[in-house]
Subunit: 320 residues, 2 copies
DNA sequence: TTGTACGCGTTATCAT
DNA sequence: ATGATAACGCGTACAA
């Protein structure tokens, strides 16, 4: 890559003069200026970004870290982050877990947004600081320079279940997700709490294990069908499992919602196709807001107070 | 962020000694070594990646550039790239157009994979070189250090159309994509050429404009329905438009494939749901191969010969 | 206009 | 066994 030195040599001037021309300063003769500019053009000179920031230390770049390639909504989050940064004159780099530690250990980015669960808190605490604030999504880290942006699972799931009860449902089935995940725990707890609040008994036999995959929802529904004891309504901890369940039920000639109602969680792209009643998590917005919170911390105006994002219920046709 | 100097100060030793400990050299006393290690642990020392690479110049990191957030398959490409790099001990950073020029103008990455159409050839030519090879996807740039990895639209579309002719179809309709796009041009040309080869006449009235969006496919099919002159089969330049067309046809009580057969292109996630016959482009593999080609160029063993990737037909139930 | 010190964090070399 | 310091790369800024 051709640098300022190459240009200086080719133009037979000093690097300072080249620098002055590039930065539009006036202390350069017209002839020299034009000569240098034409040589820059010829040789395809591109200023080295790192060299430039060496003095100022400001790259105006932040890093976003994720690692799960199976969920299309990650692109939505990136888009939200990207848009906010673009509007505010900042740059984004995205990295997957293995590379992000290297990037975060450089002085290149000025902050980070972390989604990847594999990025452990200890590491985050060790790199976070006044000059490197971090926003973590969907988890909470107690640190002065780490802020959490989390989607509220609990209240919206309470709302959903309460609304269903208000519609008259009493016999519930539940397909859970990976049980160590916070998402699963919060959603399931909200479900249990709301039933209890309404004095509705939930039989543990109507709980089915899943792992958030469509396949696991399919299997769970197969088992449920074999039990010969269909609940009125099946709540699934996410859309993928709900869709798997729908497929299994349809294969066994059950009609939805006539024979059984179903709800999901996520509002994935497939949810609309299946007319699935679900909970919409504003992915784009959460990315946008995470970026906003991070930039405010970089500018010194933000706080490390957790930021909560509300999800909303999407009523479609899988509920009677 | 705590650096080697901070550790040296805290341990009351020189930076050299700290460096020696960190790099596992043996010329350090046991007591000093342990003291330094424990202080590193305590203070959460993380070696600065850029500082380290300042000497070697080798970051073993490459950059992938894209900008379209609407297509979920981009994640698949990233996954393919990521996997290859991981297997080969390299790191990946992903950037969107606005930030990638800065990154490429740093000496941070050692090569780039470019998917974004907005990244113009002139810029690529100016940064490409023996120390910075580039792989471009889905376009061709003539440069010693720029290699193309392209998906072959033409032959697979010829195959698809020929197979349909062999099945007995004679009356074709076509919904095209954005006409300036290479994808559209190649697919459409293959369609026309194959019909001509089989002496089948294609009426231009059966060509409908689209822009690759579902909405445009829906509109095109609405117009087609109004024409009261349904072809036997409707070929769509991508899946989104095919799905839009299916929705429009179903709304008007046409059965697929009884009343009209339909094909798409892409094998998007929705294609399976709609049982759409389409062309599967191996996204993961193309990312993986692009990374492989790039790394070979970095290692000095690759060439700038274009690399072609074959797509395959997925027969499903929207074709009689 | 030019020469050159400076900034970043680490590593390598040579002294002590 | 430990320390002092130059070097790495590239552009900027300031004195000459």
């Amino acid at each position: 890559m051709v640098g300022i030195k190459d240009i200086a040599k080719a133009a037979e001037v000093s690097v300072s003069t080249v620098s002055n021309v590039i930065n539009g300063r006036k202390n350069v003769g017209k002839a020299t200026r034009e000569k240098i500019l034409s040589i820059c053009e010829e040789m395809g000179y591109q200023p080295n970004f790192l060299g430039k920031t060496l003095k100022s230390g400001k790259t105006d770049t932040i890093v976003f870290n994720f690692s799960d390639f199976d969920r299309a909504f990650y692109l939505k989050i990136i888009e939200g982050i990207n848009d906010y940064l673009l509007e505010n004159g900042l740059d984004l780099i995205v990295s997957t877990t293995n590379s992000s530690q290297n990037i975060m250990r450089s002085n290149y980015p000025q902050g980070a947004i972390i989604l990847d669960k594999k990025m452990d808190n200890k590491f985050l605490v060790s790199v976070a600081g006044p000059d490197f604030p971090i926003v973590v999504m969907d988890r909470i880290v107690d640190h002065n320079h780490i802020k959490s942006v989390i989607v509220e699972n609990y209240p919206v799931m309470c709302d959903l279940v309460q609304s269903l009860i208000d519609k008259g449902f009493r016999e519930f089935g539940y397909i859970g997700g990976i049980e160590s995940s916070l998402d699963h725990q919060e959603r399931y707890q909200a479900f249990l709490d709301t039933l209890e609040k309404n004095d509705i008994l939930f039989h543990r036999t109507h709980y089915y294990h899943g792992d958030f995959s469509e396949e696991s929802g399919y299997r769970a529904a197969k088992i449920l069908i074999l039990s010969n004891n269909l609940p009125e309504l099946l709540i699934c901890a996410n859309d993928n499992m709900a869709i798997g369940a729908i497929k299994a039920l349809k294969e066994n000639n059950y009609s939805i919602p006539e024979d059984i109602s179903i709800t999901g969680f996520d509002d994935s792209s497939m949810a609309e196709t299946y007319e699935l009643t679900t909970v919409a998590i504003p992915r784009y917005e959460s990315g946008y807001l995470a970026a906003k919170e991070l930039v405010e911390m970089i500018r010194g105006t933000g706080t490390n107070q957790s930021f909560k994002i509300n999800a909303t219920i999407k009523w479609r046709n899988t509920v009677k």
